[in-house]
Amino acid sequence: MAIEFKQVNYLYKSFLHENSFSLNNLSLSINSGEFILVAGQTGSGKTTFLRLLDTLILPSNGEINFDGQIINNSSPEKILMKVRRNFGFVFQFPQRQLFSPTVLDDVEFAALNFGNNKAEASKKAKEVLKQIGIEEDLWEHSVFNLSVGQMRKVAIAGALVNQPKYLLLDEPTSGMDEYAKNDLLKILNYFHEQGATIIAVSHDINTLAPLVDRAIIFRRGKIISDNNPTKIFSKPMNADIQPPSTVSFARSIGLKSTPLSIDELADEIEAINE
């Protein structure tokens, strides 16, 4: 067990929004090496959950245990920084975090902030840029002249530069075409195999369900399901989450199983034919 939420409440001071952003009495644990999909409608609390994980916000009450370090409402910034350096967070829009004159500078940023000197930071940045597949001739480019796809990769590199134990992603596939998605999934798989724990908030269930070991579904600040995706989508879903297209198709031809990938679905269809 690596992270444990103990009866965490988070009250958001929402006033003009009809959606409340609060989280209610949340208890769960996250094991190291897991790949988790977090789903739910807008305002269900899934983004708040990510922010709590990165200690960008603190529990109103309750506590979170990060590998032995306990964080609660009154934890000082110094301790939070210590926890945060184990996390990489990729936000939905890369434009909201890129600012440096060059790609390399931008990727170095988190490494410098978390105590590396310039030489170390530069070495780490180059390494991660290679792993992610950003060509060397782009390293000295301005971040503002990149295509949207490249910007996103640079943002991911910027989050991964410290080789974080935990990678948090907010709607990582939003606005991407299929080939860009496949590119991203390769990167995620690579870091997952290296031992990173990945937690992705996404409504792109078709893309992520076949990959993850665990899915957590939020509704109105509470977890309503937390299980492996096959178990979750084998039950009829509530109106706020759609099952993967593969499952809907399986149901429409009378299959009882829960295939999450097209491969599995094809197998199932062939099985009844024989």
Partner: protein, 269 residues
């Protein structure tokens, strides 16, 4: 999403029905009248007036509290300055003395008054912006400034600018909090380091804000152009301002209160 400036909350309240001009005029003169208040009685009247306005707005009180919180640190700073810099008028005025530090009851009262003035002002402006859509505020200002268009001032463009600003302040403030979080997640710390280091932390926050604002502005300009916007002068207005009986009544009540404040402030009751 802590900034409540410019966020309109539709309710079915008396204040929502008022002509925006009435609310703007009252807000404007309220700030002036506030300067006249100089006694517990005059402040009492104003507090009562503001409380009554909040009650009539049907807006939950926590909305006002949130509006206040965003400037609370500023208010506390001003209170402290008053508290520390007000010299005691005589020996009996000193409340606490600790070395060179002397806190006087005059200073204490002054700092409370400062805070009170701020709170009342913020509450009144919040009543205006939360009960009135930004476009109506703009229409109201445009209409009030109409006499100036005779001397060549482009009041319609001015009004549209105000309404756009009111609309985009909250959006950009939400964006800004996302940007700050994105950089904090990369180890930017706003709470540690020297002043120089902390000033430097502004760069990773300001540059993305400018880039996002620029992008939003371009999309917005496209959207306006596609919907046939040429210039603000050649437009009609959906909101027809109607000055009703209720506006007259509210204005009369406010005038009476204003005069009583001025009167009592000179009468020193």
């Amino acid at each position: 999403m802590n900034n409540i400036f410019g966020r309109f909350l539709p309710t079915d309240s008396l204040l929502g029905k008022l002509d925006p001009r009435t609310k703007i005029v009252i807000d404007f003169f309220f700030v002036i009248i506030l300067l006249f208040a100089n006694s517990w009685l005059t402040y009492g009247i104003l507090i009562f007036f503001v409380a009554f306005a909040i009650y009539c707005s049907k807006i939950p009180i926590k909305v006002f509290w949130l509006g206040l919180r965003s400037i609370l640190s500023l208010v506390i700073l001003m209170m402290l300055i008053q508290l520390l810099l007000t010299a005691p008028s005589d020996q009996s005025d000193i409340l606490i003395s600790f070395g060179w530090l002397r806190i006087s009851s005059t200073g204490l009262i002054n700092s409370i008054i400062i805070a009170l003035r701020f709170f009342l002002m913020i509450f009144m402006t919040t009543v205006l912006t939360v009960t009135t859509p930004s476009t109506s505020i703009a229409d109201g200002i445009s209409s009030l400034l109409k006499p100036l268009s005779k001397i060549g001032l482009d009041t319609k463009t001015f009004a549209l600018l105000i309404s756009m600003t009111l609309r985009f302040v909250p959006i950009l403030s939400d964006e800004f909090s996302t940007i700050v979080d994105a950089q904090r997640s990369r180890g930017l710390s706003l709470k540690t380091g020297s002043i120089v280091k902390r000033t430097k932390t502004l760069i990773p926050m300001i540059i993305p804000l400018i880039s996002v604002a620029f992008k939003k502005a371009l999309t917005l300009a496209d959207t306006m152009e596609i919907r046939g916007f040429i210039d603000a002068k050649s437009r009609t207005s959906f909101h027809q301002l109607k000055f009703q009986k209720i506006d007259l009544i509210v204005l009369i009540i406010f005038t009476v209160i204003s005069f009583s404040i001025v009167y009592f402030s000179y009468a020193k009751l």
